[in-house]
Symmetry: C2
Subunit: 112 residues, 2 copies
DNA sequence: CGATATACCTTGACATATGAGGTATATCGT
DNA sequence: ACGATATACCTCATATGTCAAGGTATATCG
């Protein structure tokens, strides 16, 4: 089983911000990194990814620039802003709260 | 901070099914139970709740009937079906996978 | 006897993920 | 040399679920 769209929803931005917090990178690489880190359990559809970049940039959470080197010139790199880092911190906190809440509501069944 | 709509999305049905798995009950009571169990961190908007009941019933995961006793006659009770129990099991499994994936992608920051 | 809690429901608006489609270069095997 | 695949970007229309806003009615409590 993999993660459904409705479950992914709301976490996309946080995942991207978390990747960018480790250093500037570009869309394709972010997606590969996410796939590797999750053992293939989670990956973005391309439309999801680029929609998210647009949204994050419009919200001032990331900035974008084109690569300058030869073969990487076609890559669009992203950098997280200060506001983006603050948002990531808030997102992680919300995730911790979400995990506690859903564990309380869903995991009782395992105890039976 | 409380759980945002986009984070809640996709978990609503599972939460309702989990409540119904403990015994038949009705909308208002489900919402109160969820609020109590989460210390107020999570509660359904009424429109969300009744939209979910409709969806779950159409998908054959729950069945509905009106209460028969005096003051409870206005209550619409729901019961989880076999398909609903199977769905809940799958939902819990997906939640466990989601928790592992998001912990891997988001919690690195705590280690710094 | 007025305010609040209980209890149900519908409709339209909104945001996000995605399918489907498009463009172009680099790399690798044969 | 060249076809297949990977890399790398993008847009548009659509589907779905949550919610704000609105409505109705009974029960309870001060």
């Amino acid at each position: 089983m993999s993660i459904s769209p409705d479950i992914l929803r709301g976490h996309t931005d946080a995942i991207i911000l978390a990747q960018l917090a480790e250093g500037d990178t570009y869309g394709y690489a972010i997606n590969k990194a996410v796939q590797q880190r999750t053992g293939g359990a989670l990956g973005f559809k391309e439309a999801t990814l680029y929609t998210a970049f647009k949204r994050l940039e419009q919200n001032g959470l990331i900035t974008a620039y084109w690569g300058e080197d030869g073969p990487g010139a076609r890559r669009r790199y992203y950098a997280v802003t200060e506001a983006g880092r603050a948002q990531l911190t808030a997102d992680i906190q919300e995730w911790n709260e979400t995990r506690a809440v859903l564990d309380a509501l869903l995991t009782y069944k395992e105890e039976q």
